[in-house]
């Protein structure tokens, strides 16, 4: 017998976790002598109160969808891909190569090839850790973390020494050509008579991210590969019995994971900065872990969790900008949400399961 209904597991647990995080955050804000109610108002109006706010919220959410999906796919194969950050950086390189060194007649073509290229670069960056895990048993957590540093160093080198235009002062590539600029939500919604903020960075990548959510759903729950990935994730000995190669599944799952993380670059590199800069990923690879945990590694959950974290990011930025609440506290609030929704999951789940069991016994 299941311990509690699926809806409680999928909805109630994260909501209560979120509430606890919010209460604790409010206490912290109170503790430094600020008004938590005003802070919440500021966060909501700053991130959801205008199309400008929405534009930023959705922009961040797009990043988190890609990295959240990346972590989720690896989770299904019981692997902890902490290398989303590095894979997304390499994805940026893939986008830059496509946009800078090839002429494109239209942004849509450029987008398709940039997406593929970013996925290939991200997957390639995940390949070595995957191979080492599968063949040598080198722990994927350790290797992917190390690969984040290597990716940062590699990008640093390339941006300073190779890709920086002559005479430029900052370590970044040249601006991508006009033809590769992606339409923003402003551009896309204007034909429908909806006035969306021109300054907000949310762009057509959001749709690609949503498509990726749907694709991952079908991959995991409808295809044979997904079946094998999940079987391997649940039981390696079972997978061997069924003739599913652990080496193959480990590598394939990590390639897909790395590819998804890499695809994030079409949003932040191609869509927003329109050139490759240092630290363009801004920690989105790590937020992806929290998004996947909160979203239960389900694409729909990842989608919703990504929007929540987009809200926290944009709301937090507004808070730092307009109030005397220090920037560090925003990080504390975000960390609390991650802590409660991700790490302290059982703290809410187990009492809730007991509660449901009590009610059920009452019925019987």
């Amino acid at each position: 017998m299941e311990k509690m209904p699926a809806w409680a597991d999928a909805v109630l647990v994260p909501l209560i976790s979120l509430l606890l995080a919010a209460i604790l955050s409010a206490l912290v804000i109170l503790g430094i002598g600020e008004d938590p109610v005003a802070a919440v108002k500021m966060m909501v109006s700053g991130s959801l109160g205008s199309t400008y706010g929405w534009g930023y919220t959705l922009y961040y959410a797009t990043n988190f969808m890609f990295t959240g999906l990346a972590v989720s796919v690896a989770f299904h194969a019981r692997m902890f891909n902490i290398g989303g950050e590095g894979q997304a950086m390499l994805g940026g390189l893939g986008v830059a190569v496509i946009c800078l060194y090839m002429p494109w007649p239209h942004w849509s073509l450029a987008l398709i090839f940039a997406t593929l290229s970013s996925a290939v670069f991200g997957a390639a960056w995940a390949f070595l850790p995957a191979y080492l895990q599968a063949k040598r048993g080198s722990h994927i957590v350790i290797t992917t973390i190390m690969f984040n540093f290597i990716a940062a160093a590699l990008l640093n080198y390339l941006l300073v020494n190779v890709m920086r235009p002559a005479g430029a002062m900052d370590p970044a590539t040249a601006k991508f050509p006009e033809a590769t600029h992606l339409p923003t939500l402003h551009d896309m919604l204007a034909p429908f008579g909806i006035a969306f903020s021109k300054a907000a960075p949310a762009n057509v990548s959001l749709l690609v991210a949503m498509l990726a959510c749907v694709a991952v759903y079908f991959l995991i729950w409808r295809t044979r590969l997904g079946y094998e990935i999940r079987a391997f994730g649940h039981s390696e000995s079972g997978a061997k019995y069924a003739g599913i190669s652990p080496v193959k599944i480990t590598v394939i799952a990590m390639l897909i994971s790395g590819g998804l993380a890499g695809m994030m670059a079409i949003n932040n590199v191609m869509g927003e900065s329109e050139r490759l800069i240092m630290n363009s990923t801004e920690g989105a690879g790590f937020i992806g872990i929290a998004v996947a945990l909160m979203g239960r590694s389900h694409p729909l959950g990842v989608f919703l969790a990504a929007i929540l974290f987009g809200f926290l990011y944009q709301g937090g930025a507004e808070l730092a900008l307009w109030t005397s609440i220090p920037r560090e506290l925003i990080v504390v609030i975000q960390a609390l949400v991650i802590l409660f929704t991700g790490a302290l999951d059982n703290m809410v789940r187990i009492p809730l399961e007991k509660l449901f069991l009590m009610f059920r016994k009452g019925d019987a």
């Binding site: 017998m1 299941e2 311990k3 079908f218 409808r222 295809t223 044979r224 079946y227 094998e228 999940r230 079987a231 649940h234 039981s235 000995s237 079972g238 061997k240 019995y241 069924a242 003739g243 599913i244 190669s245 007991k354 069991l357 059920r360 016994k361 019987a364």
Partner: protein, 515 residues
């Protein structure tokens, strides 16, 4: 044993109840165990035997009920209290530190002070006394991992006795023993009883109950259904009490009509990850229409044999199916290619291998056969077809509840095994590899599973059966091969051998086959 009514019972439980969530593991259980007796507790898996003993040993707290030790009401909140009350427990899986000596294990947790030397000296003395008193000879300085399983069990018993236990609880003590070791154990238990100790023996083996106990209590679905004098009951009567209906203990089967050779194995060798050779040159054959039973104590290479035949492990040597060589190296084959060759495999450990416990029944029905074209629809899996197939299989194999959307972990052991069996047997294989077919399966389902295996044989299929239950080997096999230390000690005709001979072979002793 005659017990005058004036003697207080060594243990008396009154109205013990314990629930885990909606599951009532123990319902209002009362039991009296008289001192100086061996009291058996028998029941199917999940009947609540282990829960009851865990309450007695302080692992769980009963929701309701009272415990009396020698007539005194006693609270047992933890195992320390149980030990203080004179209760010792010998677990099914030993709790010994393998790289400690026997003496060190015995004083572990019962040291007298911060320095070990006085404790060790005291333990050495009392070990000598105990050995003399109960015939429990063990070398005090031997390292535990070098001892045989039977001797390790003695160390567990000594640990309890060293802690002044008057009441010994043994949980499925013979699961890992050879028949000879089991006989020794029961001799020791008899000796302990003569010296006035009280013994509770938990088992699911009817024969052990009949041979050794004075009184037997039967548990079914959390309730104590009966407590009877062993001398006044019979195996069939106990089985009926356990299951709640009449059970066929014997499998009806006609003599085998062996046909062509299906499986041939020559000089098969398997080396494990640590470089230890697990199979040391196995040769055997199985013909169509016969069941070859592999008897042996767990851990003598049977698992590796099944794994290499099933394509999970790799090795060297020759495996032939219907006269054709198949890959043994594992480089060109896996579980999938074995299945394509007509080899079905019901693995020993269905929870770790045979099933994905978090997968629903229908997903498990496709497991291993998930590349079957009938289960595909374009680039997707045809989940509807798999579900329909599962429904039909569940009906034919009487899986309860017949719900394809229930996760495997929510089925009982017997029904889990039926899901695996249905999946493998309905593929119409030439060869069925089947390991521990009824481990953790309730008696009612054992009957059904045995019938299925025999009927598959009667359809002319070859069956390789591995079981550590000698009774099962005898009931099903047409020929019996005994494995010891990675080798086949010999093959016997079940009608011309007996437990004694097989038991010796299982311990590595081969007598010359009577001509």
């Amino acid at each position: 044993m005659t017990t005058a009514p004036s003697i207080e019972p060594a243990i008396e439980l009154k109205g013990i109840s314990k629930a885990f969530g909606p599951v009532q593991a123990n319902k209002d259980i009362s039991i009296r165990v008289m001192p100086g007796t061996i009291h058996g507790i028998i029941g199917e898996n999940g009947a609540g035997k282990s829960t009851l003993m865990s309450i007695l040993y302080g692992f769980y707290k009963a929701d309701k009920g009272e415990i009396f030790i020698s007539g005194k009401k006693t609270q047992i909140p933890d195992s320390q209290a149980a030990i203080a009350a004179g209760i010792g427990m010998v677990f099914q899986h030993f709790k010994l530190v393998e790289n400690f000596s026997v003496l060190e294990n015995i004083i572990l947790g019962a040291e007298d002070g911060p320095m070990l030397r006085p404790s060790l000296a005291k333990a050495r003395q009392s070990l000598t006394d105990l050995a003399a008193e109960y015939g429990l000879d063990v070398d005090p300085d031997a390292i535990v991992e070098n001892l045989s399983v039977g001797h390790q069990q003695r160390v567990e018993i000594l640990k309890a006795l060293y802690r002044q236990a008057d009441i010994l609880i043994l949980d499925e003590p013979t699961g890992v023993l050879t028949p000879a070791e089991a006989d020794q154990l029961f001799r020791i238990l008899n000796r302990l009883r003569e010296e006035g100790k009280t013994i509770i023996l938990i088992t699911h083996k009817l024969r052990e109950i009949m041979d050794t106990t004075d009184t037997v209590s039967v548990m079914r679905r959390g309730e104590m259904t009966a407590t009877v004098k062993t001398s006044e009951t019979s195996p069939a009567g106990l089985a009926e009490l356990m299951v709640g209906r009449k059970v066929l203990l014997q499998v009806d089967k006609t003599p085998a009509k062996p046909g062509a050779t299906v499986l041939e194995v020559e000089n098969l060798r398997v080396t494990d990850e640590k470089g230890v050779e697990r199979l040391k040159g196995i040769s055997l054959e199985v013909k169509a229409g016969e069941i070859l039973g592999i008897a042996g104590v767990a851990g003598n290479g049977q698992s590796e044999l099944l794994e290499v035949l099933g394509g999970i492990a790799s090795g060297t040597g020759i495996i032939r199916i219907n006269g054709e060589d198949i890959d043994v190296s594992g480089k060109f084959s896996d579980g999938q290619s074995r299945r394509a060759r007509g080899i079905a495999h019901v693995p020993e450990d269905r929870q770790r291998e045979g099933l994905i416990m978090d997968y629903m029944a229908w997903e498990n029905t496709a497991f291993g056969y998930h590349r079957d074209p009938a289960y595909q629809s374009g680039i997707f899996m045809n989940n509807a077809a798999i579900r329909k197939d599962t429904e039909e299989k569940m009906e034919r194999f009487d899986v309860r509840p017949p719900n394809p959307k229930l996760s495997a972990k929510n089925f009982s052991g017997g029904n889990q095994q039926k899901i695996v069996l249905a999946r493998e047997i309905e593929r119409n294989p030439d060869l069925l590899l089947i390991g521990q077919p009824t481990r953790g399966v309730d008696i009612g389902a054992i009957e059904f599973i045995h019938q299925q295996i025999v009927s598959l044989r009667d359809q002319g299929k070859a069956i390789l059966l591995v079981s550590v239950e000698l009774d099962e080997i005898f009931a099903l096999s047409d020929r019996i091969a005994v494995m010891f230390d990675g080798q086949i000690m010999g093959v016997r005709d079940p009608s011309k051998t007996d437990e004694k001979e097989l038991g010796l072979m299982m311990a590595g002793v081969v007598e010359e086959e009577a001509a």
